[in-house]
């Protein structure tokens, strides 16, 4: 067992990460040890990264405890790079983290500087000279390579860079040269952000955090208006929208709504969020208020021109779709269902109830089991087959279902329905329509010779 992290006091006593626990105990007998929890650390880092999304959409994880933020074009929103760095560091410190940070031309340079020269902001083009005095460890290479540098007498990045590239490549490989180049700002290594950048986003920052829910919704509507303009320019509508609420104390709440058809009407969007927020099992806790609200269209699709919607049928369809969206926002899209036919004669599989929001127009036609002017051949309510005990005599059929005895007045059958052999080795079913003395009409089937099941009830 080795130490993975030490606090300041332990460090001052000469302990450092990587030290075997036994050695550490020998140095400091009164050592307090806590088991490392890697997954929890990762989760925490993710949470901090979520929080950093408030500053720039491009946030990449740099485990075990680093984050890389691409602040290109985002710094001016907070009044410049200096203020931004100061704010991030101060806010994180307030949340109880030990923070070091730096801004530089490339991610690797910033990374190296953050570890060794906290708080520095490198002017454009000065990456090389700033990074040069740092020790080679700052390159974050593997231990063997770092050790090899040290043995070769190359103690700083600058010294390493002074060697010719051919020498370095021959000795340490091309990967090392690339790492060196990116650290010195000679090459660009793009960071891989955690989240894909949505094509459409709008956000609003508040000088004073907002608490009232109506203000939140009004803001969502305002942002939806801005988003709507962007969407309209490209002839698209949103299918999925995320509203992200950044709380002043660092907590983040993200709420998503989906629509059945491309939408860009701010009023509709606000209504969907209202439904969703109303129905949340854990309501939005404003705490001390939100200082940033962002609306993103996470998925957008081309949408036909609004002018095509004048015909009555189209308008009706649109209204129904909006209703389905509202209900889906409140109850979840898996609860708002539309029926589609299925190409099989197995009764329970002949139709499917699919989420209405995602339902494609049916490609199959509905097919009736009955002929014209005939009585229904399929029940209105289908049960999962329930066993019944059948008492059959010469001229009468009686069966017991759910503790009640039904005497058949009329029986018709059998209608044989063969199971699909390529799905399962189920026996074929012989279906009977049965009407009892009170007029209730049941759908029973026989499997094999003696097993009877009740599968549905007719109207």
């Amino acid at each position: 067992m080795r130490l993975t992290a030490v606090d300041r006091r332990a460090a001052s006593l000469g302990l450092h990460p990587g030290l075997p626990l036994a050695n550490a105990r020998a140095i400091v007998p009164a050592l307090k040890v806590m088991a490392a929890n890697g997954p929890a650390d990762e989760k925490l880092l993710e949470a901090v990264a979520d929080w950093c999304d408030g500053f720039t959409p491009f946030v990449a994880l740099d485990p075990p405890h680093g984050l890389l933020l691409d602040v290109t074009g985002a710094a001016h929103l907070l009044g410049g790079e200096e203020k931004m760095l100061e704010r991030i560091r101060a806010d994180l410190k307030r949340q109880g983290f030990a923070v070091t940070g730096a801004i530089a031309g490339t991610a690797m340079a910033a990374r190296a500087l953050a570890h060794h020269r906290d708080g520095i902001i490198v002017p454009a083009g000065a990456d090389g000279e700033t990074v040069a005095p740092l020790p080679v460890e700052a390159l974050n290479l593997d231990a063997v390579t770092t050790h090899a540098f040290r043995r070769a007498g190359l103690k700083t990045i600058g010294q390493a860079a002074s060697r010719t590239r051919a020498e370095l490549t021959a000795r340490f490989g091309a990967g090392m040269v690339f790492a060196l180049d990116t650290a010195l700002g000679r090459a660009e290594a793009p960071i891989s952000p955690r989240l894909p950048m949505p094509a459409y986003r709008a956000e609003r920052r508040f000088a004073e955090p907002v608490v009232v829910q109506d203000v939140l919704l009004a803001t969502v509507k305002f942002l939806a208006g801005r988003l709507s303009k962007l969407l309209e320019e490209r002839g698209e509508g949103a299918r999925r929208l995320d509203a992200v609420f950044f709380r002043a104390d660092g907590a983040i709440r993200s709420i998503a709504v989906e629509t059945g058809a491309p939408t860009r009407d701010p009023w509709v969007i606000e209504r969907l969020f209202r439904e969703k927020i109303d129905a949340l099992a854990d309501p939005i806790d404003p705490g001390f208020g939100f200082d940033l609200i962002r609306l993103e269209a996470a998925r957008a699709e081309p949408c036909r021109a609004e002018a095509a919607d004048f015909s009555a049928g189209e308008k009706e369809k649109k209204e129904i779709r909006f209703l389905a969206d509202r209900l889906a926002a409140r109850f979840g899209s898996h609860r708002v269902l539309a029926f589609r036919p299925n190409d099989t004669h197995i009764p329970e599989a002949a139709f499917v109830a699919v989420p209405a929001q995602y339902a494609e127009p049916a490609t199959l036609e509905w097919e009736r089991a009955r002929g014209k002017q005939e009585a229904p051949r399929r029940p209105l309510r289908l049960l999962s087959p329930e066993p019944v005990s059948m008492l059959r005599s010469q001229d009468q059929m009686r069966f017991r279902w759910r503790n009640a005895l039904h005497v058949a007045r009329k029986v018709e059958g059998p209608e044989r329905i063969a199971m699909e052999w390529w799905h399962a080795l189920a026996p074929d079913r012989d279906y009977f329509r049965v009407e009892d003395e009170e007029g209730r009409r049941f759908w029973l089937y026989r499997e094999g010779a003696v097993s009877w099941f009740l599968h549905g009830v007719f109207a």
């Binding site: 269902l337 009764p347 089991a369 005939e374 009585a375 229904p376 399929r378 018709e412 209730r440 109207a459």
Partner: protein, 249 residues
């Protein structure tokens, strides 16, 4: 004096214009339509109570009413209703003459959700009917809830059908209330057409009644059941049974 009269007459005329015109949908069954002053009122709340163990008959009757009213149909039902009474089958609706692709099915976790969804859906003028299927007699479904539904229907013109299982009819503000059970189908060779023993026990604009109604799946209308079919006079509703005989005569 006459000026005041004129004014009142003018106001009445304005009111008559402002209110939605009353639309009644004939069911096709002559006796019932006569009782209902022409048919089932559109844009109103109607209740259908299922007699115990005749839930599917009541479901079919409700579906048939919705088919008469026409337009897209939203069917709201609770999660566990499917376990007890069976899942609604699209093929079953199709056999009854309803187009399953015009049906939107909403599964809600509880009664509060059902009522909430219903009041939202009743604002959607594109819908024809909203069916609210409620099992048991929940406290939430009180007079206020009934009234709210009725108001919603009146404002939008969408018809609400409240389908009740395992509940005794009590207070209510519904336009009509039906107690439905299955009735034996005709004696012909192709038996099994849906026949309902439907008792109209509450009718705000007419007398109650009871009829054996057959639903014609092909023509999409009710008609008097085969005279050969016998409607059992329910022992638990003597007064209404007598009424039914009177109105059937």
């Amino acid at each position: 004096m006459s000026a005041a009269h004129e004014k009142i007459a003018f106001l009445r005329a304005t009111l008559a214009k402002a209110g939605p015109p009353e639309i009644r949908v004939p069911l096709g069954h002559v006796g019932a339509d006569a009782c209902l002053a022409g048919g089932l009122k559109k844009g109103a709340l109607h209740e259908v109570f299922a007699i115990a163990s005749h839930e599917t008959a009541a479901t079919g009757f409700t579906a048939a009413l919705a088919a008469r009213i026409g337009g897209p149909l939203l069917w709201i039902r609770q999660d566990y209703a499917a376990l007890e009474h069976g899942e609604l089958a699209a093929t079953g609706f199709l056999e009854l003459g309803l187009d399953p692709s015009r049906i939107l099915l909403l599964r809600v976790p509880d009664v509060a959700g059902a009522l909430r969804a219903a009041s939202d859906a009743l604002t959607c003028k594109a819908l024809g009917t909203v069916v609210i299927e409620i099992v048991g007699a929940p406290k939430l479904l009180d007079l206020v809830a009934h009234r709210r539904l009725a108001l919603g229907t009146a404002e939008s013109g969408v018809t609400a059908l409240l389908l009740r299982f395992g509940a005794e009819p009590d207070i209510g503000v519904a336009e009509t209330r039906w107690c439905v059970r299955a009735a034996p189908s005709g004696e012909d060779e192709d038996w099994g057409r849906p026949v309902f023993d439907a008792a109209l026990t509450r009718n705000r604009h007419g007398p109650p009644g009871q009829w054996a109604m057959e639903w014609s799946c092909d023509d999409g209308e009710f008609r008097p059941a085969d005279p050969g079919a016998v409607v059992s006079a329910p022992a638990d509703r003597p007064a209404q049974a007598a009424m039914a005989q009177a109105s059937a005569a």
